[in-house]
C-alpha cells in the first residue's frame, strides 16, 4: 500500500504536537475528573475540625460520619448505574421503605426470621426490575416511571405494615446495623454498615470498569442509538441498571431495619432519592449519561455526610443546615462546571 506508507511518513508536525499535547491535556483532565470533589471533601473536613475546636477528626466522630454515609452511599451506587445510562431513579426511597417493611415482617415469623435479609434485598430487586422493564420494554421515560413508583411503592410500604411502625428488638443479624468490625482490637474498628457500603462501591467499580456489561452501560449512556446498532442489548442493560438500583435500595432498607430494629412505611426513606442523586452529581457523573465514576459517588456521599455531621458539631441550627447544604451543593457543582470548562474539548 504505497499510499499508506506515504501518509505514514507524512504525519504533519502540528498533528503530532497536537496529539501529544492533547494526550497531556487528556491526562490532566482524567486527573481532575478522578480527583473531582476530593479537595472539597478535604477542605470541608479540615474546616469543620478547626471550627469545632478539634472535635471532627476523632476516631469516634469519624465512625459516626462513616455510619451516617453508609445507607446513602449504597443508594447512590445504584443511582450511579442508572444515571450513567442517562436515566434517573426517583423511587429508591420508597423501595427502601418497602424492603425494610417486608424484611421486618418476615423477621417476626418464628421459623423464617433469618430469611428477612434476602427477602428485603429481593423485594428491592423486584421493584427495580419492574421499573427497568417498564422503561426498557415499553420505552417510557425513566423520570415518569420512577415518579410513579415513588408514589405507588410508598403506598405498598404502608400497606405492608398496615400503616403502623413494625418493631423487632430481636431481629437476626442486628450486628450489621450497630456493630463494628474490629480492625485492631481496642484501637480501630469500622461500622459494619460502612463495610457494606465500601464493598458495594468496590463491586460496583468492578462491574463498571472491569466487565463487558460495564462498558455496555457507559455505551448506552453515551449514545443509545449507536449502542443498539453495535449489537448491544440496550433493553437488557436498562433492566440491569434499574434492577441494581432497586436491589441496592433493598439492601439500604435492610441496613436501616437492622440499625433501627424498626421500620415505618410512611416515614422511612423519605426523600432519600434526593440525597442519592446529589451524591452522584457531586461525584461528577454527567446527568446526560456516559460519563462518571463510582469513586466520585463515594466522595459525593461522604461530602453530604460530613456536611451534616460538621454543621451539628459546629452548632448550626437545624433550619440553617438545610440552607447551607443546599448552597454547598449548588456551589460545588458550579465549581465543577467551571473547572471542566477550562479543559473542554476544542
Amino acid at each position: 500500500m504505497p499510499d499508506n506508507a506515504a501518509s505514514k511518513a507524512q504525519p504533519a508536525p502540528t498533528m503530532t504536537n497536537g496529539g501529544a499535547a492533547e494526550a497531556k491535556r487528556q491526562r490532566v483532565r482524567v486527573l481532575i475528573s478522578a480527583l473531582g470533589m476530593l479537595p472539597v471533601l478535604l477542605i470541608l473536613c479540615i474546616g469543620f475540625h478547626f471550627l469545632s475546636d478539634g472535635r471532627f477528626f476523632t476516631g469516634q466522630n469519624l465512625g459516626i460520619v462513616l455510619q451516617q454515609a453508609a445507607v446513602n452511599t449504597v443508594l447512590a451506587a445504584g443511582m450511579t448505574f442508572v444515571i450513567l445510562t442517562g436515566g434517573i431513579d426517583l423511587s429508591v426511597g420508597s423501595i427502601l421503605a418497602a424492603s425494610a417493611m417486608a424484611g421486618l415482617t418476615i423477621s417476626k415469623l418464628p421459623d423464617l426470621g433469618a430469611l428477612w435479609l434476602p427477602v428485603a434485598v429481593l423485594t428491592g430487586l423486584g421493584f427495580g426490575v419492574v421499573n427497568g422493564a417498564l422503561i426498557a420494554l415499553l420505552r417510557l421515560p425513566p423520570f415518569i416511571v420512577t415518579l410513579g413508583s415513588l408514589t405507588a411503592v410508598r403506598g405498598l410500604a404502608r400497606l405492608l405494615g398496615a400503616d403502623t411502625t413494625v418493631f423487632n428488638p430481636s431481629i437476626p443479624y442486628a450486628f450489621i446495623g450497630n456493630g463494628s468490625l474490629t480492625l485492631v482490637p481496642g484501637v480501630a474498628s469500622i461500622p459494619w454498615l460502612s463495610v457494606i457500603a465500601l464493598l458495594v462501591i468496590f463491586v460496583s467499580w468492578l462491574v463498571l470498569r472491569r466487565t463487558v456489561l460495564g462498558v455496555h452501560i457507559y455505551a448506552v449512556g453515551g449514545n443509545e442509538s449507536a449502542a443498539r446498532l453495535a449489537g448491544i442489548k440496550v433493553w437488557g442493560v436498562l433492566i440491569f441498571v434499574y434492577g441494581v438500583s432497586g436491589l441496592l435500595a433493598g439492601l439500604g432498607g435492610a441496613m436501616q431495619a437492622a440499625r433501627l430494629y424498626a421500620a415505618n412505611g410512611l416515614q422511612l426513606g423519605q426523600s432519600y432519592e434526593l440525597d442519592a442523586i446529589t451524591a452522584v452529581i457531586l461525584g461528577g457523573t454527567s446527568f446526560v449519561g456516559g460519563i462518571g465514576s463510582i469513586w466520585g459517588t463515594l466522595i459525593g456521599a461522604l461530602i453530604i455526610a460530613v456536611l451534616s455531621n460538621g454543621l451539628i458539631l459546629v452548632g448550626v441550627s437545624d433550619i440553617w443546615q438545610y440552607v447551607i447544604k443546599g448552597l454547598v451543593i449548588i456551589g460545588a457543582v458550579a465549581l465543577d462546571r467551571y473547572r471542566l470548562q477550562g479543559s473542554a474539548r476544542t
Binding site: P2, N4, A20, T211, V212, V215, Y218, L229, K233
Partner: protein, 507 residues
C-alpha cells in the same frame, strides 16, 4: 478588480501552545465565491471561528473589513462586522417560526409586546428575493434541510452581512436542493456579496469557485484563480504530495464468482423499501447508488435487522438466515458502517480503545464477563497500526479525532469481528482526501481476502472508482444494475439515468 472587502494578514491562533493557524493571509473581494479547502484539521474551522468572533486571534495579525482594521469579539462580533456564518449543523430553533428565527436576538416589539405581524412582514421581501416557497409563519421544524438553509441565508441577508461563510452547505442536501442552493449562491454573488465556501467536494468547487485558497496544517499553501482550478493541483496542495492512484482497485472482481456470500430477496419495510433483491459475492465490491431518499440506507437497515421488515429473506453463504437485530447480524458476520458516525456509530466520550473493541468485548471476555484488557489493548494497537489511525494514543476519547480518523476507528470496530459481509454507508463522508484514499485501499484489501462488500455512496466518482458493479435504487426499488465490462467502464451517466428514471439514455 475592486477593493477587497476582507483582508486577513498574518493571523495566527494557538491553543495551549499548539499553533492551529500560522500567519495566514486571506483576501476576499465582493462579488466572488472564495472556496476554502483543506483536509480536516487544516485550520479552516479555526479561521472561520476567528471571523465569527468565537475565537480571538493571537496578537500580531490584522483583520481589515472594507479597508478598516476591526476587532471581532464575542459571538455577536462577527455579525456586527458584517460577517455571517452558516454552519454545517444549522443553528435554527425548530420550534419557532421562520420569521422568529430570522429576527432571533433582535426581535421587534411594540410597547414591550412581541410584534409578530411586523416581523413577518419584515422578512417577506428577503424570502421573496431568495425565491422561498414557504411562509414567514411556517415552523422551521416543518421545513426540509434545503429550506432551512434558505432561512439561514435570509437571516444573514437580514442582518445586512456583506460576507457569508458557508461550511459544507450541501452535506445534508439532496441533489436537487444542492442545485437550487448553487443558483442562489450565484445570484448572491451577482448582488455583490462575498461568499467564503468551505467544502470537501471538488465538483462544487469547480461549479462555484472564483478562487480557491488551500490550507494545510494551519498554513496557507496558496490560492488559485478560476482558470487554474484543477483537481490534481488542489489535491496536491491539500495533501502535500501527489495522489497518483487516488481510487484503489487491485482486487480481482471475478475471484468469488459463483460464490455468493450475501443474498437478500424481496426485502421490504412497507414504507421506504419496496421489494429489493441483491446478491454480493465473495471478494466483490458492489456499489449501491441512488438519489438521496431512494431507500439505500433503509435497505441496509433491513438487512442488518435495525428496522422491522414486512417481507424478505436473507441467505448467508447459501444458508437461509434469520436476522432480527443488529447484534444477530454482527454474530452472523454482517457488519454495517453507519452513514452518521457521530449519532449512530461512535461513542465520542469513550476512548478509542473502547470504541474499537466494543463489538468483540463479549467474545474476548474472561469467564464470559470480565474484560480482557491485554487483548483489547493489543487489538487497538493493531488497528491503529493497520489502519494508520492518528491519535495521541488509544486512550484518548474518540470525539477528539478528526473525521477521517473517526471513520477509520469505526471501521476497525467492524473489522474486529472479521466480517463476511461489510456494508459501508457513505464511508468517506466528511473525510479528508488523505484518509479517503486510505479508506479505499482498506476496502480493496478486504476484497482481496474475500470479504463481500456493499458500498452505499452518493459520490459517483467514488463508486465508479472502487466498485466492480453498481446496483442502482430508485424510490425504494432496485432500478437496475450497471456492470463494468472489460471494454465498457462504469459511467456516471448510466448510473444517473437509472437513478433518475431516464433509462432511455442507457444504450
Amino acid at each position: 478588480m475592486n477593493d477587497p472587502i476582507l483582508e486577513m494578514r498574518g493571523v495566527s491562533k494557538s491553543f495551549f501552545g499548539i499553533k492551529a493557524l500560522r500567519a495566514v493571509d486571506l483576501t476576499v473581494y465582493p462579488g466572488e465565491v472564495h472556496a476554502l479547502m483543506g483536509e480536516n484539521g487544516a485550520g479552516k474551522s479555526t479561521l472561520m471561528k476567528i471571523l465569527s468572533g468565537a475565537y480571538r486571534p493571537d496578537p500580531g495579525g490584522e483583520i481589515r473589513i472594507e479597508g478598516k482594521p476591526v476587532r471581532i469579539e464575542g459571538p455577536l462580533g462577527g455579525r456586527a462586522a458584517g460577517i455571517s456564518i452558516i454552519y454545517q449543523e444549522l443553528s435554527l430553533a425548530p420550534n419557532l417560526s421562520v420569521a422568529e428565527n430570522i429576527y432571533l436576538g433582535r426581535e421587534m416589539s411594540r410597547s414591550g409586546l412581541l410584534a409578530r405581524g411586523a416581523m413577518r412582514e419584515g422578512v417577506g421581501p428577503i424570502l421573496q428575493r431568495l425565491g422561498a416557497d414557504f411562509l414567514p409563519s411556517t415552523l422551521v421544524a416543518h421545513l426540509s434541510m434545503g429550506q432551512r438553509q434558505l432561512v439561514e441565508i435570509a437571516r444573514a441577508l437580514h442582518a445586512r452581512s456583506k460576507i457569508l461563510i458557508m461550511d459544507e452547505p450541501t452535506t445534508a442536501l439532496s441533489a436537487g436542493e444542492s442545485e437550487r442552493l448553487f443558483a442562489l449562491i450565484r445570484q448572491l454573488r451577482a448582488e455583490g456579496l462575498a461568499i467564503i465556501y468551505i467544502s470537501h467536494r471538488m465538483d462544487e468547487v469547480y461549479a462555484l469557485g472564483d478562487r480557491v485558497t488551500v490550507l494545510r496544517d494551519g498554513r496557507l499553501v496558496g490560492s488559485l484563480d478560476k482558470q487554474d482550478i484543477r483537481a490534481d493541483s488542489i489535491v496536491r496542495m491539500m495533501v502535500g504530495r501527489d495522489v497518483s492512484s487516488f481510487y484503489k482497485k487491485d482486487h480481482d472482481p471475478n475471484a468469488g464468482k459463483g460464490h455468493p456470500v450475501l443474498t437478500a430477496v424481496d426485502m421490504a419495510d412497507g414504507r421506504r423499501v419496496r421489494g429489493c433483491s441483491l446478491t454480493v459475492h465473495a471478494g466483490e465490491v458492489v456499489g449501491l447508488a441512488g438519489l438521496i431518499g431512494a431507500g439505500r440506507t433503509e435497505l441496509a437497515h433491513l438487512i442488518i435487522g435495525a428496522a422491522p421488515k414486512i417481507s424478505g429473506r436473507l441467505e448467508l453463504e447459501g444458508q437461509p438466515i434469520d436476522i432480527r437485530t443488529p447484534g444477530e447480524a454482527l454474530e452472523a458476520g454482517i457488519a454495517y458502517l453507519t452513514e452518521d458516525r457521530k449519532a449512530l456509530g461512535l461513542f465520542l466520550d469513550m476512548s478509542c480503545l473502547e470504541n474499537i473493541n466494543l463489538a468483540v468485548l463479549g467474545r474476548d471476555a474472561r469467564l464470559g464477563w470480565f474484560l480482557d484488557r491485554d487483548k483489547a489493548r493489543e487489538r487497538a494497537d493493531r488497528a491503529f497500526a493497520g489502519l494508520s489511525i492518528r491519535a495521541a494514543n488509544v486512550g484518548v476519547p474518540a470525539g477528539g479525532l478528526s473525521g477521517g480518523n473517526q471513520q477509520k476507528l469505526l471501521l476497525s470496530r467492524l473489522l474486529a469481528i472479521a466480517p463476511k459481509v461489510l456494508i459501508l454507508d457513505e464511508p468517506t463522508r466528511g473525510v479528508d482526501v488523505g484518509a479517503k484514499s486510505e479508506i479505499y485501499s482498506i476496502i480493496d484489501n478486504l476484497a482481496k481476502v474475500g470479504t463481500a462488500i456493499l458500498v452505499i455512496s452518493s459520490d459517483l466518482p467514488e463508486i465508479i472508482g472502487i466498485c466492480d458493479r453498481v446496483i442502482v435504487m430508485r424510490s425504494g426499488a432496485i432500478a437496475g444494475e450497471v456492470i463494468r465490462g472489460p471494454t465498457s467502464p462504469l459511467t456516471q451517466e448510466d448510473i444517473m439515468a437509472l437513478a433518475t428514471g431516464m433509462e432511455h439514455l442507457d444504450a
